[in-house]
Amino acid sequence: MSSVTSTTSDQDALLRAGIDRSLRHPVMFFLTSGAAWLAVSIFLGVIASAKSHSPDWLSGCPWLSYGRVFPAHINALVYGWGMQAGFAVIIWLMARLSRKECTAVGTILTAGHVWNLGVSLGIIGILSGNGTGMPWMEFPAFAWPVLLLSYFAILIWSFIQFRVRPEGHVYISQWYLLAAMIWFPWVFITANTLLHCLPGHPVMGAAINAWYRSAMIFLFFTPVALGAAYYLAPKVTGRPVFSYSLAKLGFWSLAGIAPWAGMQKLAGAPVPFFLPYLGAAATALLFIPTCAAAVNTLRTMLSCPETLAASPSLRFTTAGIVGLIVLAISSVFLNLPGSTLRMTQFTLSGYGFDMLALYGVFSLIMFGATYFIVPRVTRREWLSRRLIKMHFLFSVYGVIFVALVALFGGLMQGMGQEAWQQPWSPVAARPYAVTITFSWSLILFSNIFFFLHLTLMWLRLGRRSSHPTLLVPSHGSGSPHGEEGDIDNVGPAHAH
């Protein structure tokens, strides 16, 4: 490279390419193994859901009994897919935004394998009948220190990159990601040490478990999703974020409100009176941070409608943000202590809310980020527009059915429970359960192809092209992807 032709933008491109290259294997490892866990989790979810309306199916095998398959489904979704997708997005975004190459690839990959080992043994532990019986924390007690240590070994480098970054602007994405990186270990250590190591009052243990579930959603999965959305929306559209002050409001109100939420699940249980009611109030108030961030990113993306229609990243992100608005509305309407809380406290709507948060918001935005990040780290383009479209349609329609049917079915179930004049009977939830089974099957189908697509990309079997895979046919050319070209003809390489 001659210094005469080298410009700032060439150096920038070189730096970005260097960062992407350094993170290729960690990012692809977390995304691909995460996608595999996602498929496993949904497969278990289909089995669990089918058993909830046909209890005799596969009833001979203890490993596949409902009471074990369902926790395995949730834990695989949270720790297998959710956390690992979060790792991939955090390490890549923090490196890019701090402008630092990753220097600890070996440690991250080793820790990633340990994480996967921990999750696998935990799932086997649940299925073999050694679960702890604490929702979302069913992994046998050996698993959590393993997960915690590998968490630190994976993400400490992103924190260091932020500390040693060249001085400059701190992006909104970085607030959310840094905060999530700090909140998760705090929440995880608190819940696990209190419940596993320092036995206290059993009902207070149940309250902390409920707080833990809510904190995982609103202090890890939501901020990671918002960090990615605040990166993708301005980056892909090329427009600035709609409002900086709205972003600040959204972030600090999340930080101030979300830690109080969660214990409304214990309303009426013998814990100090204020805990469930503060929890209900905080959950309803979460409308503010979620809507502030949703409006802000949505306005940014809508400033460029044609990009929105063409870019898979933006399309998934928009769907996830719309999911966030639905989540915001349901966090108000499911938690009103005088009317709806008693009907949603012990019903299917809790599952609907969790799945809306985990799949309808977090996963959709993670898919959007995946479709953006993977071509950059592998330097190959996605193979098939059709697979991406199918993934989008099945995911979005699937999660609409799973979440909305569970939310609505839960309300119906709650009304039945409260009708105390009627004798108790297993509520006629069959149509809801059948719909949920069917929708999970659709989602499973599309995610198996998502996993295969990712694997091919990791093997660098993607298209060698400089044209991004867009969802609308380009004009005036025979190939739906435009002219085929060697990816190395553009970008940093041609500065050489």
Binding site: S52, P55, G60, C61, Y66, G67, R68, P71, N130, G131, G133, M134, P135, F162, V170, W175, L178, A179, I182, W183, W186, T190, L194, G200, H201, P202, V203, M204, G205, A206, N209, W211, W252, A255, P259, W260, M263, K265, G268, A269, P270, V271, P272, L275, L278, G279, P337, L341, R342, Q345, F346, T347, G350, Q417, A419, W420, S425, P426, V427, A429
Partner: protein, 234 residues
């Protein structure tokens, strides 16, 4: 905003909730003052439900097999739900000895458990007083543990529960050839000539635990939110 300010802000906003919602209530509830037991006749009348031996093992079986996914163990006060109005959830409406024993769940009911299985979804009925209910109602006049064994083996075998969504737990039972005289524990389930069905150790532990679920023990006046009216009162 520097990193220092940022982390201070996060620590303050999270730490306040962390202390107020989690740490302080947890520490406070660890030292719950003992509750006097009005029904006890011993010298130290302290209310402490039995949670040892096979009952504790049964609580583990309950947790490991996900019973908490479909069954709750909390009878909410009337401000939070209608559980108390049901005739057999909070106790028994017409107990032959004690009359109406129904009451809401209190913190002492869970003493000695590892984790209170409050539950997440009521696909099945609340189990706070299952032991009481099975003895007085479901299995009235017969052996309550046998009723529970048969129920766990195949919930829909009972014509009254034909529509139950409770999964059968056949793996907790052992089908074996009858050698000599049949076992005293054999269940009244037809598993073929020359064979009998006996509960395994998990089933025995689970049934001990389920029969121990009687959370309508009398409470002292301080905790009795629905005291009996005197005869003269209207």
């Amino acid at each position: 905003m520097s990193l220092r300010t940022f982390i201070l802000g996060l620590t303050a906003s999270f730490g306040a909730a962390w202390l107020a919602m989690v740490v302080i209530p947890y520490l406070k509830m660890r030292d719950l003052a003992p509750l006097a037991d009005p029904a006890a006749k011993s010298a130290t009348p302290v209310f402490f439900p039995k949670r040892t031996g096979r009952i504790a093992d049964g609580a583990m079986v309950y947790a490991e097999n996900g019973c908490y996914l479909c069954h709750t163990q909390v009878v909410r006060p009337t401000y939070a739900g209608n559980d108390l109005y049901r005739p057999d959830w909070g106790g028994l409406k017409n107990d032959p000895d004690r009359g109406d024993t129904r009451r809401e769940t209190n913190a002492f009911d869970f003493l000695g458990e590892k984790f209170a299985q409050i539950g997440v979804n009521r696909m099945g009925p609340d189990l706070s007083n299952l032991g009481r209910r099975v003895e007085a109602d479901y299995a009235a006049g017969s052996d309550p543990s046998e009723w529970l064994y048969v129920h766990l083996y195949d919930p829909t075998a009972n014509p009254k529960l034909w529509n139950s969504k409770c999964p059968p737990n056949r793996f907790m039972f052992e089908k074996r050839e009858i050698k000599g005289s049949p076992s005293d524990d054999a269940l009244p389930v037809d598993v073929g000539a020359g064979f009998e069905l006996v509960p395994g150790s998990d089933a025995r532990a689970l049934v001990s635990y389920l029969l121990s679920l009687k959370k309508d023990h009398p409470v002292p006046a301080a905790l009795d939110f629905a005291p009996k009216k005197k005869d003269g009162d209207s």
